[in-house]
Subunit: 112 residues, 3 copies
């Protein structure tokens, strides 16, 4: 099974809950998880910024093999470059497009 988490809320506590739920999923032995991805956009981009609030959790998730993707429209809007992001974070043309593509491939969607 595959799961994509949608990170969009601006509240830091809500962001940390979202990242914790993603981490917990990788440790749930009752389900066979083949892939976990995170798509961030809007104010949910904060933990993906190098040195941003929660970026330590994003680094840890990347180390666990979770792919983390930032919406390019959001980067443009917030005047951020890919170099402002945590290393190994990918960019995607649009968050909505990536979330649609992954769900069409069978990923479950979770919006914490």
């Amino acid at each position: 099974m595959q799961t994509v988490f949608h990170l969009i809320a601006g509240d830091p506590d809500q962001q940390k809950t979202a990242l914790t739920i993603a981490e917990n999923l990788t440790q749930d032995e009752s389900v066979e998880i083949d892939d976990v991805a995170i798509v961030a956009q809007g104010d949910g981009i904060e933990p993906l910024k190098a040195g941003g609030n929660g970026s330590d959790m994003v680094e840890s998730l990347l180390d666990d093999g979770i792919s983390v993707k930032a919406c390019s429209n959001t980067l443009d809007l917030k005047d951020l470059a890919e170099s402002d992001l945590v290393a190994d974070v990918e960019t995607v043309p649009s968050g909505g497009g990536e979330l649609t593509r992954l769900q069409s491939e069978g990923y479950a969607y979770i919006r914490p």
Copy 2:
């Protein structure tokens, strides 16, 4: 691919982000999008009201061919008639029913 956006948050900024993400999806050439729908309920109904905050964005999305659907339970609860809504907004018996139906037809779900 097909996508349905769930508009339920009452915060105007969150509503505008949701409508912007829907618009961005139609402009993302990296995914082939066949249909985009918006289902609004609860406090998310505001931009669907004629003259409501954000109604200009809803009008623009309708012009782009996006279907916009209002939950009838919400209209009843808020004492709104279909004539209070932006022209061409449709009504559905329940938001939950429509979101279920569309996902069962293969729509991806995005809740901004």
Copy 3:
């Protein structure tokens, strides 16, 4: 059709809206609903607590045949035991795992 609702928001009004939407779904005769489940985690656990704010609505939904599931990680984090919950609420290893499993079985996902 089958639907799972994700109860995670901490705001009591938002929780009540979520539970109302679940109830409305069971009464929407325009869609054939075979099963409705609720998965609660994080601050969304409150209405599942015996005597918690909104627990009367959870009891009513259970009476209607809706299954209500609490995330065990959340129970651990909040120092809650299964005996602290409304009778007939089930527990699942992780909210994210259960939401993934149900969607992989064809459940639509709604996050109010």
